[in-house]
C-alpha cells in the first residue's frame, strides 16, 4: 500500500468537514446541528495536528487544544440556548425558530 502523507490526513479532514457542513445545512433537529458543528471543529483539529506533524513542531497541537476548549464553551452555551428555546416553544426543530425572520 501507498505511504500515508499529510495530504491523506487533509483529505480525511476535508471529508469530515463536509459531513459536518451537510449536517448543519440540512438537519432540523438542533441537537444534531450542534453535533455537526462538533464534527467541523474536529476536522479542523485533525488538520492542525497533521500540519503539526508535517512541520515537526508542537504549535499545531497547542492550537488543537485551544480549539477543544472553544468546542467545550460552544457546546455548553449552545445547549443552554437549546434548553431555553425548548422551554419557550416546546420544539427542537431549528426551522421553527423564526421570530427574527422578516
Amino acid at each position: 500500500m501507498l505511504h500515508i502523507t499529510t495530504l491523506h490526513y487533509l483529505v480525511l479532514g476535508a471529508a469530515l468537514f463536509l459531513l459536518g457542513v451537510i449536517g448543519v445545512l440540512t438537519r432540523r433537529n438542533v441537537v444534531i446541528v450542534l453535533m455537526s458543528i462538533e464534527l467541523i471543529l474536529n476536522a479542523v483539529n485533525l488538520n492542525l495536528v497533521a500540519f503539526s506533524r508535517l512541520w515537526g513542531g508542537l504549535h499545531g497541537q497547542i492550537f488543537a487544544i485551544f480549539v477543544i476548549t472553544d468546542a467545550a464553551a460552544e457546546a455548553a452555551v449552545g445547549l443552554g440556548i437549546l434548553i431555553a428555546f425548548f422551554r419557550n416553544k416546546e420544539t427542537v426543530n431549528i426551522d421553527e425558530v423564526n421570530l427574527l425572520k422578516w
Binding site: 476535508a14 433537529n29 462538533e38 515537526g56 477543544i68 443552554g80 420544539t91
Partner: protein, 169 residues
C-alpha cells in the same frame, strides 16, 4: 519507534470515522447520533496517536468523548425527543444545502490538487519523547496569554450557560 502498518490502520480508522460521521448526520434518534459521534471521536483520537500527538489524543478522549458528549446526552434526556422523531428530519432547503456543500467540496479538491506542492518534500523529524512536557512548557511559556484568555472564555461560557438555562434569574 517506527510505526507499524501505518496505511492499514489509517484506512481502517478513517473508514470508522467517516461511517460514524455519516451516521451522525443521518440517524433519526439524537441518542444514536451521539453514540456514532463518540465512535468518530475515539477513532480520531487513535489517528492523533498515529500523528505523534498522545496528549491531544488523551484530551480528545477525556474532554470530548467523556465531557462534551455526556453534556449532549444529558441535554437530549432533558428535551423531549418523542415528537421530533416522528417528524420530518431534513429541512425544506436541503437541496440547496447539498449543492452548497458540493461546491465547498469542489473548492477543497481544487485547493488540494493545486496547492500540495507548497508542502516540504519530507516530513520533518519530530521529538517523540516528552510530548506532554513540551506542550506544557509551550503552553505556560509562549502561549501564557492565550491560555489565560481561554480560561476567561470558559468562565464566560459557564456563566452564560447557567444564565441561559435557568428559568428565573
Amino acid at each position: 519507534m517506527a510505526p507499524v502498518a501505518t496505511p492499514f490502520f489509517f484506512y481502517l480508522l478513517s473508514g470508522i470515522m467517516l461511517i460514524g460521521g455519516i451516521l451522525v448526520i443521518t440517524r433519526k434518534n439524537p441518542v444514536h447520533s451521539a453514540l456514532a459521534l463518540i465512535v468518530t471521536l475515539l477513532a480520531q483520537a487513535s489517528i492523533y496517536l498515529m500523528l505523534y500527538a498522545p496528549f491531544v489524543a488523551g484530551v480528545q478522549i477525556i474532554l470530548y468523548a467523556g465531557g462534551i458528549m455526556v453534556l449532549f446526552l444529558f441535554v437530549i434526556m432533558l428535551v423531549s425527543i418523542d415528537r421530533s422523531i416522528k417528524e420530518r428530519q431534513f429541512n425544506s432547503q436541503w437541496v440547496v444545502g447539498i449543492i452548497a456543500a458540493t461546491a465547498l467540496g469542489g473548492l477543497f479538491i481544487a485547493a488540494f490538487t493545486k496547492g500540495d506542492k507548497i508542502f516540504p518534500e519530507h516530513v520533518l523529524p519530530m521529538v517523540e519523547n516528552d510530548n506532554t512536557q513540551n506542550i506544557a512548557t509551550l503552553l505556560y511559556g509562549q502561549y501564557m496569554f492565550a491560555f489565560e484568555i481561554a480560561s476567561l472564555l470558559l468562565l464566560v461560557a459557564i456563566i452564560g450557560a447557567v444564565v441561559m438555562a435557568k428559568k428565573r434569574i
